[in-house]
């Protein structure tokens, strides 16, 4: 399989141009409402508790009751052990349950364990599975290994949608990001996702652009729409809007909904809510008036 060489300078210049778009007033409010509806509210800590997950599920359904017309978050993203609880808490609210699996975040385990991990999440009711690729194998050039592993996990997912985390912070070059994207899409990913959030740098705009372009080229080739999820490090409304501009101008309106685009973030939601409240009231907001995560 051939994967194109990426022009890094060109990518950075293109990104810089997206960031000059000025989005104000009503269009800003609209953009922010779209963005907040794309958020996967995430808690992936060793210290997660039943209470924390329950609180997050409540928040996903009721982001800010003071402002009418705020949509829900897209999904709640948790470890497999909390899937059952999250599913129960979210009921038929329309908010999906996403679960990380496959020995997240390192992915350092056997295929059997990874499949069992995935099946456990799906059997517990996960609507979406976020897997990690084996970066070590990828960087050693064992692309077939990576491909086969994704394909195996995909079949273990059943009806659940599969998001494949490339962990771009460990892939070193944009060429690798593009190659990993190609492998993931061809192996059966429904979404490709930048990062676990445990490695720095997490999502960056250049990496996201390279992945969006891979999705575009794959769509031209096969007619199949793959989703995109930048995760980690996106914490302000302004940056979220810049990502939406990038999606709109690379893939078009079809991708501007939470079926095909997600933000993996938790602090982003509050910043967007603060911006929406500012637009509604005309007054700059403070963190004291929004839920603590």
């Amino acid at each position: 399989m051939k994967s194109p060489i990426i022009d890094q300078v060109g990518v950075e210049e293109r990104v810089a141009r997206f960031n000059t778009r000025s989005i104000k007033k009503e269009s800003k409010v609209q953009g922010l409402k779209i963005a907040i509806n794309m958020i996967d509210l995430t808690t992936l800590e060793g210290k997660d508790t039943v209470g924390k997950v329950r609180q997050l599920c409540y928040k996903a359904q009721h982001l800010h009751v003071d402002i009418p017309g705020i949509p829900t978050a897209a999904a709640v993203c948790v470890y497999p052990t909390f899937v059952k609880l999250a599913k129960q808490e979210l009921g038929n609210s329309g908010v999906k349950v996403a679960s990380v699996a496959t020995a997240f975040p390192s992915g350092q385990s056997t295929l059997a364990v990874k499949i069992a991990d995935t099946k456990f999440a799906v059997d517990s009711g996960a609507d979406e599975v976020d897997m990690v690729i084996s970066r070590g194998e990828f960087l050693s050039g064992n692309y077939n290994f990576v491909f086969d592993e994704i394909a195996e996990i995909k079949s273990a997912c059943g009806n659940a949608r599969l998001k494949v985390i490339l962990e771009t912070g460990e892939l070193a070059t944009l060429d690798n990001v593009r190659r990993a994207s190609e492998i993931a899409m061809r192996a059966g990913a429904d979404f490709i996702k930048t990062s676990t959030g445990k490695i720095q740098p997490a999502a960056t705009q250049p990496v996201t652009l390279v992945m969006l372009e891979a999705i575009r080229d794959y769509y031209y080739e096969t007619g199949i729409k793959i989703g995109m999820k930048p995760a980690g490090g996106i914490s302000t409304a302004k940056v979220a809007l810049q990502y939406l501009v990038m999606v709109r101008e690379t893939l078009g309106n079809d991708w501007l909904n939470n079926q095909y685009f997600r933000f993996g973030a938790s602090s982003l939601a509050n910043d967007i809510l603060m911006q929406l409240a500012k637009e509604a009231s005309g007054v700059y907001q403070g963190g004291d008036y929004f839920s603590k995560d």
Binding site: V283, Y284, Q285, G286, G287, D288, Y289
Partner: protein, 293 residues
Amino acid sequence: MSRIEILKTYKLYIGGQFPRTESGRYYPLLDKKKNVIADVCLGSRKDFRNAVVSARGAFNSWGGRTAYNRSQILYRIAEMLEKRKSEFIEEIILQGGNKADAKKEVELSIDRLVYYAGWCDKFQQIFSSVNPVASSHFNFSVPEPTGVVAIVAPQDSSLIGLVSLIAPIIAGGNVCIALASEKMPLCSITFGEVLATSDVPAGVVNIITGKTSELISHMSSHKDVNALVYGGKDQKEIKLVKENATLNVKRVFVYQNNWNKTESQNPYFIFDTQEIKTTWHPIENIGVGGAKY
């Protein structure tokens, strides 16, 4: 050969850096003979908003430092100011002051910083109390910094007014955003340079130049600002500030002291921007022998 003198660009001081105003605007500062002394940034509400974000980010670390450490840093500001005395005297003269008064003002500013440096680890002892209660508790009250404080510096001085307002606020562990005198802004930004080289962490003090009439409503309505100290005399502005402050029950203090007098420095200025925390600590029953703590 004669050379062209290199003039300093007066910019803002936000988050430890010296950015130009995001609005790109400026106003010319004129001397008595209507010559332009400098072009000064005409700060905007967004500059203020950015400064609040920087300040909020710096608050936990600054408020959590030991009082002793804050004291050392305030003393360090005084040291730095002493070394650059001549520059400040020159600026005050440029803005219409006479030489003798200018020297007195700068020296008083230095002394005031030393004064508040001394109070950093002492005011708590003056304003704390052990309270008698009718239960088996050890009950005590201590002052704690209120948070982000907006300052409108007095119009009639370039340095002493600004220093007299900033020093007690940061001595008490608060962080601040000061709007400099519109008529005499030069020393404020040079003072920012002093702060930047005095181990004052980025964001603890932010200084903006611009029009009070334009910024006052945003400064007083911002919900992430916990207190506002107003050093001006405009009755309409005072009324507006007090009304807007009710939005998030901001504390408002209007100071109209003559800052050139040593009577205008006392620990009550520190106390103004403190909150009192009272703690009930369970102890054994209070018997004849007194409390066992």
